[in-house]
Symmetry: C2
Subunit: 228 residues, 2 copies
C-alpha cells in the first residue's frame, strides 16, 4: 500500500496464490518428465541464461563434438521465431521448437508435449534450451536430470549475486565467451566466488565456443552425467 | 492438454485471468505516475534490457555528461542487492533502490512508491533502471515519458525478432558496447532492420560507454526529450 496515496494493488496477493498453484501443478509435470526421461535412459539438460549468452552456439558445438559417440535431441524455447530450431536442424539432429508467445519461461507441461514429439528411444542426451531470461526459468522445474546456467563474460561478474535463484538451482555454471575476456571487465574468480556464495556446490567451466577453449572439459562433464 | 497423457494444467487459464487484472491495475498506477511526473516537469526514462547490457554504466556516463546542465534522479530495480544504487550514489545524485525479490520486472506501483522517496521537485530527469530481463518488463507500463531498450553487441543481432514486445514498446533502441563489434558476430544493420520490422518508428543510437562513441548523440536525444 502506498503511504502517500492510500491505495494498494489488491490483486497482487491473488496473483501470488495462483502462481503458487501453477508451480505446484508444474512440479507434477516435472515429475512425469523425470520418469519419462529415466524410462528412456535419456539425460535431459536444461540450459538457462540471459538472451545472447551462447546457448544455441554451445549446443551446436556439442553436437559436432559428440557426433558418432552420443545421440542428441534438442528442444528449443523462444518467445517467437523458429530460428534456433532451424540452426540445430542443419546439424542433422531431431529438434522441436516451443514458441511461448509472451511466456517468459518454459514450464514442465510445454516440455512434456514437446518430448512426445521427439524419438526419445533413439536419443541419449536431450538439450532443452530455455527462453533467454536469467529470472523466470529458474522458478520452473522441468524434470531434466541437469540444470546448467550460462553466464557470458560480457554480462558482468556481478550477476550471480543479483540473480541468485538460477545459480542456486543449477549444478553447473558455464562461463561463456572466454575469448572476449581481454576486452571486458569480468573477473572469473569473482563470478565463481559470488556463484558459490549462493550455491556452494556449483561446478564451473570456463569456455569459448568460438576458440574451443574449455569445450573438452564441458564434453567430459556431460558424458559423465550421461553415464551416471 | 497433452494428447498423449490426457491431462491439462487447468490453472493456466486462471493465471491468465489474474494476470490481465494485474496489468489493468498496473495501468491505473502508470497513469498516476504519468500525472505525477508531468506535474513536477520530470522526464522519466524507463531503461530495459537483458542483464549486463550496460544500463547502469550508461546512467553513470550520462550523469557525468549532464553535470551542471540537468538534475538527474535514479531508481534502480534489481532482484537482490543494492549494488547499482551504491554505484549511482557515488556520482552524487539522489537514488532509490527497488529490490523485487523474485519479481522479474518493475511495476507501476513499485515505481510510484519509490518516486515518493525522491525529491522530484529538484529533478529534471528520472532514470528508471528496470530489472535485467528482455521479456517481462515490457508488459508493464510504468508511466514514464520514454521507454528505451538497450541491446549490446555481444547479445546478437537476432534479438529484436526473438523478443519483439520490448522493441515494440520502446521508442529508442540503444545498441551498446560498440567497442566490442570487432570481436563478435553482430551486424548493426540487421539488428536495426529486425527492430523496425516489429516497430517501424523505433529510433536507433549505437554507442560505447567505454570509448564514448555515440554518447553525444544519446545526450542530445534525451535533452530534446526533456525539453519537449
Amino acid at each position: 500500500m502506498c503511504q502517500e496515496c492510500g491505495c494498494s494493488p489488491d490483486t497482487t496477493r491473488k496473483l501470488l496464490d495462483v502462481r503458487r498453484k501453477v508451480l505446484e501443478d508444474n512440479d507434477v509435470w516435472a515429475e512425469r518428465n523425470r520418469e519419462m526421461l529415466r524410462g528412456y535412459g535419456v539425460l535431459g539438460i536444461n540450459l538457462m541464461s540471459s538472451p545472447g549468452s551462447g546457448k544455441t552456439t554451445l549446443i551446436e558445438r556439442t553436437i559436432d563434438a559428440l557426433r558418432g559417440r552420443c545421440r542428441i535431441g534438442v528442444i528449443e524455447g523462444d518467445l517467437e521465431t523458429d530460428r534456433d530450431a532451424r540452426r540445430i536442424r542443419q546439424r542433422g539432429v531431431p529438434v522441436r521448437q516451443i514458441t511461448t508467445g509472451q511466456a517468459c519461461h518454459l514450464d514442465a507441461f510445454m516440455l512434456h508435449e514437446a518430448m512426445h514429439n521427439l524419438p526419445l528411444d533413439r536419443i541419449d542426451l536431450l538439450f532443452v534450451e530455455n527462453v533467454g531470461n536469467l529470472v523466470c526459468p529458474a522458478a520452473y522445474d522441468l524434470g531434466t536430470g541437469m540444470n546448467v546456467v550460462l553466464l557470458s563474460t560480457t554480462e558482468g561478474d556481478d550477476k550471480p549475486a543479483k540473480y541468485p535463484l538460477v545459480f542456486r538451482r543449477s549444478e553447473l555454471m558455464v562461463i561463456t565467451k572466454s575469448d572476449l575476456l581481454q576486452g571486458v571487465d569480468f573477473d572469473p574468480r569473482l563470478a565463481v566466488q559470488e556463484a558459490r556464495a549462493v550455491n556452494p556446490l556449483i561446478q564451473v567451466i570456463v569456455l569459448s565456443s568460438r576458440t574451443g577453449e574449455g569445450i573438452g572439459e564441458w564434453i567430459e562433464y556431460i558424458e559423465r552425467g550421461a553415464k551416471s
